[in-house]
Chain length 415, copies 2
């Protein structure tokens, strides 16, 4: 079962949710252990495939990208990874030449313990920026995790990649195709620094279908575009973001044409469920909002308005306060629209399908409308839509509210 | 005296701070009254000059600009205003045709009561978006304020433009020039929705020098660029921003060449003090940060990095938490830098002149450094500098921290 269920990510026909995580697909083993980077929780994870897997990865575009990201991106066997080593609590970012050596050591040690060429091991870190990795602790963790990998270890692995996450983010899907059933497994982390550009947070996807590299890469790319690249918690793109997908063919089932689309749809639903779990767990978040901007005069305008509304601290705090403050929505939209010649912004704003402003003016609501509005604002998932009446372009973004807890978490101890 | 003193805005030679506000310069009368828009405080203000004043105004570029902004901008005697009418508690924004009529009514009534042509009256509103103005209440306020204007009324006027501001923002300067002394008066408001583009918040400036329109406009424009356009509280550009400057010549002193520069410098210092008072009073703000980005490869890159750091909720909350979290500074900078070919970002970060990261790596600090850092982080004004080592361009931005109080204010009753 997916850790978070959401009405925003329905499963396509033929896909069934299952118990488990990245070891649900055949031919994967994993483990996550407590090495001592965190006080009590698991913090080092290892995942391996029986055989080199058809692979695709997407990395942060942050110019201050962390050492493990650069190592994996620039020296990894990008089309054919076979293992992943990951630690939480320390990002190994802004750590200079020593950080590069440490990332390399994590990779080489894992490769040695698993008997693999180093370039087949992807390295990933997440946590505090700017502190050197305590390598003695991590090496001990890598040794224990590598020795302990098993077909039941997926949940331990998912636990080991958490930082400020309130819960594990994992899931598994079974997808019916001609010739039988192929499987997908997911593990993700992320709660702050969430505003994607190409990729976000950490997310590892396993699959046991035999799928051509070009198809696997295309479906993962499309899925990321429509999921992790559509969410924002605090508009901050991290130094360590990575989405990595492995398809090892261990099911023995080679996908035929229509089945590729089937798998792609299930993959998209799984990635969206993971991404929404990240939003729902956004630091301090109490509400996940699905914002749909329509009627923009270009795709880039739709995107700009969606980001402006989703990242407005005024909109985010009003949703936390259960206030359908459409004026702040219009203000945020107006801020990023070009002031071309055709008069002031006249847009419609609807919460949960109920239009409360039309052409930038308030709509009179009766008592039952007010009740419905309050109910919608009190639910954990909220639909917000904005029609700009300027054209036909659309953008959808998912975001969290801004709460006291966000400030508490981020003004407190370093994370 | 300026309501807020700040080491970031020193007065130039020849300028002396004085008691008072917009009625400190000669030839101005003003009043602010309690009409009932706010529960207890003054909420309607009127300011008039004896004679039509050389005028310059800067308006919000928000596409959802409020009715009073559009009326004043499009139909006002922009070079020669003689009066201002302003109300707090209601922005008259997103109020449609009725809002246009209401703004016009505010203007025409004030003009009638003061015996002026309507186009000489600037209209300004600030407060909640999307609710119709209670005109009966406002008209009563305009009548009382117009009847009550006096040479001592500047502070009442400054009080009447407050919304969530914790205090009045006002000040007065005396500037020594050849031929005697000319005077400047200031009243401003603003605490949230502060991220300027051309103008921000409300700020009214009075001056009694006789100064050519072209010079007055140029010095006000330059002053706004270096003050109100350099501050951010929450990256939100409002629907109602306006900076309006009046110079009525009532001192009888016509400025000669060098004196224009003198006045310009004093005007800039006064505008910066007002803008910094807005940051210091940013909703929930406990610290004003002066961020200096150097070593950018272009002016636009310097600006982009400064905005990214100043508007990062992670940077803002860490400053609230008194944590010199330079990693979040590097992460925010890296997010908006183009990933061109010359390797990862290697920047220096200094708090209060103390470098704590060099080339994106931590610098070892001794105990006295740590003490100094803690002291700097505990002060109400903090210097933060970032050297990108990519070129020679510079940008300076002033911003506030993000606190529990910001969330409380904005998740609570509508403002």
């Amino acid at each position: 079962m997916f850790a978070t269920t959401t009405r925003f990510a329905p499963l396509p026909a033929g896909a069934v949710s299952a118990a488990g995580s990245v070891t649900f697909p055949r031919g994967y083993r994993a483990e996550g252990v407590h090495s001592g980077l965190k006080r009590r929780r698991r913090d080092v994870g290892v995942l391996r495939s029986e055989v080199p897997a058809v692979s695709a990865a997407f990395y942060t575009t942050n110019r201050a990208a962390a050492a493990p990201v650069l190592l994996t991106r620039d020296e990894g066997a990008n089309g054919a990874f076979q293992a992943v080593v990951v630690n939480a609590a320390n990002a190994n970012a802004c750590t200079g030449p020593r950080g590069e050596l440490d990332a390399r050591r994590m990779r080489d040690l894992t490769a040695e313990l698993l008997g693999l060429p180093p370039e087949r091991v992807a390295v990933s870190s997440t946590g505090v920026i700017g502190e050197p990795l305590p390598m003695a602790v991590i090496e001990k963790g890598i040794r224990r995790a590598s020795a302990g990998i098993s077909e039941d270890g997926g949940e331990h692995f998912a636990a080991a990649i958490r930082t400020t996450d309130r819960s594990e983010k994992q899931g598994a899907l079974s997808v019916a195709v001609r010739g039988g059933e192929v499987r997908l497994g997911f593990a993700a982390k992320g709660a702050g620094m969430i505003a994607p550009n190409m990729a976000t947070t950490l997310c590892f996807v396993t699959c046991d279908a035999a799928v051509p590299h070009v198809d696997w890469r295309a479906m993962l790319s499309a899925g990321v575009q429509r999921s992790f690249n559509r969410i924002t918690v605090d508009a901050q793109e991290s130094t360590n973001d990575m989405v990595l997908g492995l398809a090892n063919g261990a099911s023995g089932i080679a996908l035929r044409d229509g089945d590729v689309e089937r798998l792609a749809e299930a993959l998209h639903a799984g990635l969206l469920a993971m991404a929404l779990a990240v939003v729902a767990d956004g630091e301090g978040s109490t509400t996940t909002v699905r914002l749909r901007v329509t009627g923009a005069d270009s795709a880039s305008e739709a995107e700009r308005v969606a980001r402006a509304v989703a990242d407005s601290p005024l909109v985010k705090t009003s949703i936390y306060g259960r206030d359908a403050n459409w004026g702040r929505v219009v203000q945020a939209a107006g801020m990023v629209l070009s002031a071309d010649g055709d008069g002031p912004l006249a847009c419609d704003v609807a919460f949960d399908g109920l239009t409360i402003a039309r052409r930038s003016m308030p709509v009179g609501l009766d008592e039952s409308d007010e009740l419905r509005l309050l109910e919608a604002l009190s639910a954990p998932e909220l639909d917000l839509s904005v029609n700009l009446h300027r054209g036909r372009s659309v953008s959808v973004v998912y975001f969290s509210d801004l709460t006291h807890e966000y400030v508490r978490v981020n003004a407190g101890a370093r994370t």
